[in-house]
Assembly symmetry: D2
Amino acid sequence: MTKDFIHKVKIYYEDTDAAGVVYYANYLKFLERARSEIIYSLGLNNKKLLTDHNTLIIVKSCNIKYKKPAKFEDVLTINSRLKLISKVSFTMIQIIKRDSEIISDAEVVLVTVNNLGKPVRIPEVLLKSFKKII
Amino acid sequence: MTKDFIHKVKIYYEDTDAAGVVYYANYLKFLERARSEIIYSLGLNNKKLLTDHNTLIIVKSCNIKYKKPAKFEDVLTINSRLKLISKVSFTMIQIIKRDSEIISDAEVVLVTVNNLGKPVRIPEVLLKSFKKII
Amino acid sequence: MTKDFIHKVKIYYEDTDAAGVVYYANYLKFLERARSEIIYSLGLNNKKLLTDHNTLIIVKSCNIKYKKPAKFEDVLTINSRLKLISKVSFTMIQIIKRDSEIISDAEVVLVTVNNLGKPVRIPEVLLKSFKKII
Amino acid sequence: MTKDFIHKVKIYYEDTDAAGVVYYANYLKFLERARSEIIYSLGLNNKKLLTDHNTLIIVKSCNIKYKKPAKFEDVLTINSRLKLISKVSFTMIQIIKRDSEIISDAEVVLVTVNNLGKPVRIPEVLLKSFKKII
């Protein structure tokens, strides 16, 4: 059963640029915050994954589409959903909205590597959690 | 005749994260710097485009693939090439390298809008320059 | 009666650097988020100040001391207090803590300017709110 | 004999905010880039300092004054000068200008720590270089 994760972000000055809107790279920060919060909600954290499982989650690709600009002092909702999992990678769909309006949507592929950057299998503890929410 | 534009960036502390590598969103900053430098090399700038032509260039989509991590104090080269132009959008291929090694590559679609965010045709002055380098 | 405002921030990858700690410039982002939240808690916001009162709040100086490094996945508390107000400027003391440990403290002087950047008096609506919390 | 170090930065979209000017925290990035370039000009780098001398340079305090706003597409010059050195810390004066106009000036105190964050003496190789430029 697919589960959607919701994370909210507020737009501060730091997020905007001289065009008066959120700078396009900063949406990737929001996506990463939302993904980190999913990890926390599963009872895990990145530090524990590294210390106990010698595993880092890294982004392999990010395909983001910008639909509408977000603005200073907006409150955005990031809706994240696991789309695919294999033994070594997983794919997330992340949609950024302001109320019901889509600001941006992204497909992000993530892989797990060890502390030397070598690809490794997704740790069992993470894989098990993922299987419950896909 | 396709022309490649080269822009170099040095990796400072601000670009890296606690994983010891360049933070994934920051590559989009490098891509934008490289695109701005192309605009400058064509004798234009973003301020002039807005003031004289009521035009802003905005990113419509960015599909970026992360191949190898860049590290603190690396010097990276961004190789940018115009792939497609229409009357209202253009597509760039941007490849980030450390020496001959590909760090990341991206396909970025850009559109032109007016100061109200409404899509407009690419200004003639820009379109003419673009046609010389594709 | 002096009032302390509390704002919490969580440390994500974007906030850290290759030294494994929060990058020194990023604390200024947290301070600004905390100050924005104070403005909101007073029933105001930066957009309204600009639209209704032709006023922007800008930082005139920031004297920040770094006591201990904050780390990835820390939760920090920013304790902000108004120290001084005049007709054209105000001074805040902002202390960043992890539990009871001081990470950093800052004295920030802010002034109000109009949309052309010219110094103006603090709008009455803001001044009145400030007088209640100092 | 005091020596001034010059570093130039160009203002890209990433550096600005919705107020149309450079975001106040981002000046600290420019200051850090300028300081890194001084280290490089002395034939050293941060990686070597850590590997060969188990030393990291960290900021202890930063007192920055904002005089004029810098804007999108400005080119700024950072003029850095060593003011004081002791066995465990050094102080720099860093002035950011647009042409002859002062945008911002800062006094930054830096200390050296080992990989565990414990204060250590400035490595001899760095101290000797510093003594030549103060």
